[in-house]
Symmetry: C2
Subunit: 399 residues, 2 copies
């Protein structure tokens, strides 16, 4: 187990059981943010984005956010006008308890789509949640937001900046429906540095681009996803210059926390037994590199081959060939499994043996590298295999 | 069982066992086409298209095709220069046996990618293949091209045109890796009508657009696929006017044969237990209608829900929301499972019960209809569910 998570002065958390589903567990999480913090977020690009996403987008536009209210068990998605009212009512309920404005609350929901939120249960749980707020609640918080996750996901870093210790802590939930552009994924990351709003907005965009937008479990993108970055400013350390070393160090720590959480989501993908990095080198553009990487990382045929520890390179080149790369010279394509070359100039590599490939694919963690020899751009994504358990989990999710 | 397949004067077939893999079955198919026939084809769009595809494209460009040579068990894909030579050598071998030119032979291969074709085995089998040619060989032919298919696929129609009976017969193979733009799918359709080359070229494009480009099993597209349409002209009935009733009747028959074969491929998708039509109505364009249909038809989460007979409409709207339809007004979207309305104006339909949806999803054959209320364009595709057996089949294919 990792070290205990640092605390972030200016951020307190509390998780309580509200019985949103018929279960015995914390399912409502409250995150309280001190006055004066900056808060930034990115949201799902699914056109059917959920009611809480619509409300949160509107509230964050107004700024001065003081609390996050998250529930598991019900997504409040595809719930129409009533869904919006329900999300709003939860914000109002929490605002009354905390003595803030309803627009200072960001609501989040994850769980089953298309059922109305049990608002009263959430409202009833709020006083206990508010009275239980504590700075060391991150671990507990990471458990309260789980759905089909098999384990909680946390990450942290500390950096020394101008003599002060700055911390970054994050929690996330993932599992199925994970794909770029924010999938059924929630992530909350906080630091005690003070970061001006426009800088924080850019930071969350950059960090998500390097992390959650580079993972794929099943190619589906959910209706509810969000990633929130909080800069409480409680240390008084103001990071105001993007060209400073201080900014570079802090940004690296924030990006690392995002990447660690994103990778933890892939490792805990529904039914996943393998963690696979797909690296594409020497592409003509970032866009085509990512297209090739995702075509491999999302191909059910490639993913079942990973599951079977079968280095089926025919499926790999099939996926590369399907990525829609303009005028791809297949005779230049090289493919490596870790450091074993399997494809040389578009054909089977001389001296490659099935045993070499199998040895790599049998590992729980390996890298597929594709060299396109078209340019000098490299990109990578992280994905997992496709197992019997994926089918079992998703065929039985609601029962 | 259907009626015996009609014969197509001018087309003879023969299947023989060449032991391309270690199995006891016909794996080489020869289709001989009489002098004067028109032959047209469409091929995979995968950038890593196989050696025989490259050779066949070059040969068909020259015209006057007299024979098709198809093998199962080895795809001759990603085999580089030697793969091209092997495909060419097979054409030359057959040309010598039949007394035609090598450029009059179209080669086709299906099976494992990245292994060199056992050319000698194929060459050795050709004399027996040639001497066994017969007009009633369609059924036998349909078995020789199978790979992971569990049953052969045939279809036929007859139409009366100007007092003559014109026949259309087709065979196909499919199973995994099926997706629009020609997947690991081979289809051979023949008619005894005489159709001028340019008209036939358009006909195969139209027929494939209405059939094989509307099916999806796992969203992957293979390196080898091809669909060939032969007009032997042996009845002497020349169809030369696309505005004639004769053309309309013949085209309808040809399209129907293509659709029946395409549907048979979906019904026999790897591990498939359900056949599902996804119908999208009132879209603004054909392109966006198909995008929504394929997003539903290819979503692993939707497909596992189909397998589980779970009318998980949250996953349906998730897929619709992911289709990238510009400015989609989700408040206008309606969804039906057969004639049961499940989504009304973007939310759960009033009066809809889980039991109603489950009753539809429990059927082996049903339709999901999405009404976007944005325009007047309708499109449909056919897909199948995603089962435990899909994973099993694809995790064990090469062992």
């Amino acid at each position: 187990m990792a070290q205990p998570l640092p605390q972030i002065p200016g951020v307190r958390l509390s998780a309580v059981p509200a019985k949103i589903k018929n279960w015995q567990r914390d399912d409502v999480l409250l995150i309280e943010i001190a006055e004066g913090a900056s808060v930034s977020a990115t949201f799902t690009k699914n056109a059917f984005c959920a009611a809480p996403v619509l409300v949160a987008k509107e509230h964050i536009r107004r700024g001065n956010i003081r609390a996050l209210l998250i529930n598991a068990g019900n997504a409040n998605a595809a719930t129409g006008e009533r869904g919006l009212q329900n999300a709003q009512q939860c914000c109002e309920g929490l605002a009354a308890v905390l003595g803030i404005d309803a627009a200072q609350v960001l609501p989040f929901s994850t769980g089953v789509i298309g059922e109305h939120l049990p608002v009263q249960k959430i409202l009833d749980a709020l006083p206990a949640a508010a009275s239980g707020l504590r700075a060391d609640g991150w671990e507990m918080a990471s458990r309260a937001i789980m759905t089909t996750d098999t384990r909680p996901k946390t990450a942290s870093r500390t950096v020394e900046i101008a003599g002060a210790t700055i911390s970054v802590v994050g929690i996330a939930k993932g599992a199925g429906m994970i794909q770029p552009n924010m999938a059924t994924m929630l992530a909350y990351v906080a630091t005690d540095a003070a970061i001006p709003q426009p800088m924080l907005d850019q930071l969350v965009k950059d960090a998500v681009g390097q992390s959650f937008n580079r993972i794929s479990i099943d190619g589906d993108t959910s209706t509810n996803d969000a990633c929130v970055l909080i800069a409480s400013g409680a240390t008084g350390e103001v990071i105001a210059d993007t060209h400073s070393d201080a900014y570079a160090h802090l940004k690296a720590a924030i990006v690392e926390v995002h990447i660690e959480l994103a990778q933890a989501i892939v490792r805990d993908g529904e039914g996943a037994t393998k963690f696979v990095t797909v690296q594409v080198n020497n592409a003509a553009s970032s866009e085509e590199a990512l297209r090739v990487a995702f075509e491999i990382g999302e191909s059910p045929l490639v993913k079942t081959a990973m599951y079977a520890s079968d280095p089926n390179w025919g499926r790999l080149i099939m996926a590369i060939g399907n990525a829609g790369v303009d005028n791809l010279d297949t005779g230049k394509v090289n493919v490596f499994l870790d450091d074993v070359q399997i494809v040389d100039a578009g054909g089977r590599a001389e001296g490659y043996t099935e045993e070499q490939g199998k040895k790599v694919f049998q590992q729980s963690d390996f890298t597929i590298t594709v060299d396109l020899q078209r340019g000098d751009v490299s990109e990578h994504i992280w994905t997992c295999d496709f197992s019997h358990d994926y089918v079992t989990i998703n065929a039985e999710y609601r029962t």
